[in-house]
Symmetry: C2
């Protein structure tokens, strides 16, 4: 498994390279999936069962890389990471894919301008920022496609975080994953607005990898998931092209609900919904029944990410007192 | 549509009959579906897409029939029903199927010993009790099969309410519905216990007919629903035969969650879950993680019906303060 990852990484890098600047820094945005990545066809290489689609936020991760000392040192928002943590291990394993030689070590500072507890996927922006920083640290000068491919080896959805705007991740067909990367979807939508409902959760829920795997392996509805994504992806991209917000909104909401339905029907069943999630969903449906167009999506957590048009901001913030507006990047 | 119903009803009744006693009274139990009836292959005759399976409660409906005056008069729990209500219309249409002659009218008193607001389906026990009372009022002396077939024309799931214990509704294949009836499943389970969480709901939710229809017509997962029911029904009946409570419990819970997943993925999406539903589900999952075997089911409403074994009653009522025990009938 590790060998196939190293092979995949080395296929992307120049033949020879050396450390270029003393340190390098890069930013990568958080992305919100609109057509979800839920299920893998290859676990080692993070190859998905379906295409997926996202939009990048202005929030994200800034990563600074320098050569390390005796061993890798990682900092997150100023705090040093304990080598015994899964976070440390995952970073180290990713860096193993690109170390110039066995004893080369890194010092990596990661700053998220996203509240860590907000449940906005920071592993995607984290591995994307790390990839972009490595690219400039070593002077690889990789294409966007190769940056996306490389970051995917850190975290699947990181491949959608290497650029702003709408991103389309092609699932690809090849066994080595060399055609499974994300690229910018060539449309902008300045009117599109996002707001987040931060839903508090007392307990740590099931982690998203386990959630994905259990859905794929046990939900009786999973066999129809690829068809669901194909249809929703069509409506999302058509909605964007024609600026048909209803088509876009219905599709992103249905896609999220269809993903959560896979978890609810997994064995054993589980749910990221909390009481607040349900009441927020129903509040959104009620607003829509009363003529305010707002749709939502949800990832592997209880938070609700809502989308609406700029013209409706005043209505939205007066109806939903707890919504936090976040900036999209186009 | 009405003609096909009248035809179906008359096929079940004796050639000639007359009013036998002055009045007749019958009781029929509420049934809780364990493998759900969710989707119709024939709307007029209430013919289902799949088999379904239920257990009867000791709670239910007692109906008293007498010959009426100028027009049909219906009472529910002592209150006279307004002829302008859908309830009146539905009763009247069912009685139209069995009137000895056009001008024959009925006086029907219905008493539910189920709190009406409890969300326990009372139309099933209501139409079953009405059918049983008609059978004795007119001295039809119908077989259980024919009683089930006739009550089905009033409300689909009423066909499972004509007897106590476990009931299996065969979906049938015939166009006239003459093989779509429920019969007792020949097993008892004295140890099986039921408790209900009455979840309050402020708003009237979508009615269950609309919910079923929208699920069937728009959920992308509906094509797999028949397979889900077939598998769950196998596990439920095997679990009962071998008294394997885990197999039984997992199957009833998965079946309910799979039905609600159809609603969540319908277009437009909707949910009977309330904040309390979600927190009760999670409480049940938590108890199970801690070793207390309790599983739940839910119908087209926010209430949760839990099942567990008699030996665990003391644990259950100490963990779940708001559970109301209800008696099953075997």
């Amino acid at each position: 498994m590790r060998d196939r990852r190293i092979q995949a990484a080395h296929a992307l890098l120049p033949n020879a390279w050396q450390q270029a600047p003393k340190e390098a820094r890069a930013f990568a945005p958080v992305n919100i999936a609109l057509a979800k990545y839920w299920g893998k066809r290859d676990e080692a290489l993070h190859l998905p069962v379906t295409d997926s689609f996202s939009v990048s936020l202005a929030l994200g991760t800034t990563t600074t890389i320098a050569k390390g000392e005796a061993h890798d040192d990682f900092w997150l928002n100023g705090g040093k990471i304990d080598p015994a943590t899964p976070f440390y291990k995952r970073m180290q394993e990713f860096l193993d894919l690109v170390r110039p030689h066995h004893s080369f070590t890194f010092s990596v500072h990661t700053e998220n301008n996203v509240p860590t507890e907000a449940g906005l996927a920071s592993s995607a922006s984290g591995f994307a920022a790390l990839t972009l920083a490595l690219n400039s640290f070593f002077g690889w000068n990789l294409s966007s496609k190769n940056l996306s491919l490389l970051s995917r080896l850190g975290s699947g959805s990181a491949c959608r975080s290497i650029a702003p705007g709408f991103m389309l991740w092609h699932k690809g067909e090849k066994e080595d994953g060399s055609d499974s990367y994300a690229e910018p979807f060539p449309e902008k939508w300045e009117e599109l607005t996002c707001g987040i409902f931060y839903v508090s959760t007392k307990k740590k829920e099931i982690d998203s990898r386990t959630a994905m795997k259990r859905s794929q392996e046990t939900s009786p509805y999973y066999p129809l998931w690829p068809d669901v994504v194909a249809k929703d992806l069509f409506d999302i991209t058509e909605g964007i092209k024609t600026k048909n917000f209803s088509q876009f909104g219905q599709a992103i909401e249905q896609n999220a609900l269809a993903m959560h339905a896979l978890m609810h029907t997994a064995a054993p069943p589980f749910s990221y919904y909390t009481s607040d999630t349900i009441s927020t969903m129903k509040h959104i449906w009620q607003a829509r029944n009363e003529g305010v167009e707002i749709y939502f999506t949800m990832d592997a957590g209880p938070n609700i990410k809502a989308f609406f048009l700029k013209k409706d901001i005043c209505d939205i913030i007066s109806i939903f007192k707890s919504i936090s507006l976040v900036e999209l990047t186009f």
